[in-house]
Amino acid sequence: MSIVHEQVGQADVFRVSGRIDSSNAGDLENAMIAPIQEGRVTNLVVNLKDVTFLSSAALRALVAALVRTQNNKPAGALVLSDVRPEVYEVFVLGAFTSLFSFFTDEASAVASFPAAE
């Protein structure tokens, strides 16, 4: 798994690639949570375009980061983009689809956050 973190407009984008399983889901969680805790990041887009496999460990990491953004003041959000059908199915199996907003591409996900005033 590799993670590229970049600020794009009003969002912090995390582009993840490879496999997310029990061996590295904690690394993903830490990468997302550290900047939230430091107050530098409130709105997250997690781009899963190049993620070929994920397990329930990844779902838990994403939910942990989602809860952090929602507990921020002001509350932020975590949305997902570019989720492959076989990866999306894991969200369905875990009954996690209602927790996240899914966007077909990264630009739409970034645009879902309101522009700064």
């Binding site: 029990s22 199915e89 875990g94």
Partner: protein
Amino acid sequence: MHRFVLEQGTVQDLEAIAHFVEEVCAAHAIEGRTIYHLQLALDEACSNIFLHGYAGQSGRIEIEATYTSPLLTLHIRDWGQTFDPDDVPPPDLTLPLEMRPIGGLGIHIIRQVMDRVDYRFDSEHGNCLTLEKAV
């Protein structure tokens, strides 16, 4: 029969276990979503063994795969702490996010993608989890 044995397996071996599933599927012309389902079920089962059965330490794990059309059967053996998936209640997916328990999600996923989940234990052969799916 296909066999994959790790003397000192850890979660770092999950990718190699996924490759083993690919090899088994290639040998029997199993394609598409089924490969992902088998990889997912085995990943969740082995993650539970490494993280809970062996409590994060390394440990021996033996995986056997047999195919008798149309059934693909996986036997996963370990000598860690006993773990019966039947003892895990299904997760309450209607609970609010913060109140959902951490455990049980992997087993819940395994039960959905496999047709049969069976667990046995004896002191000689350790824990044996059998996962079966018509492919």
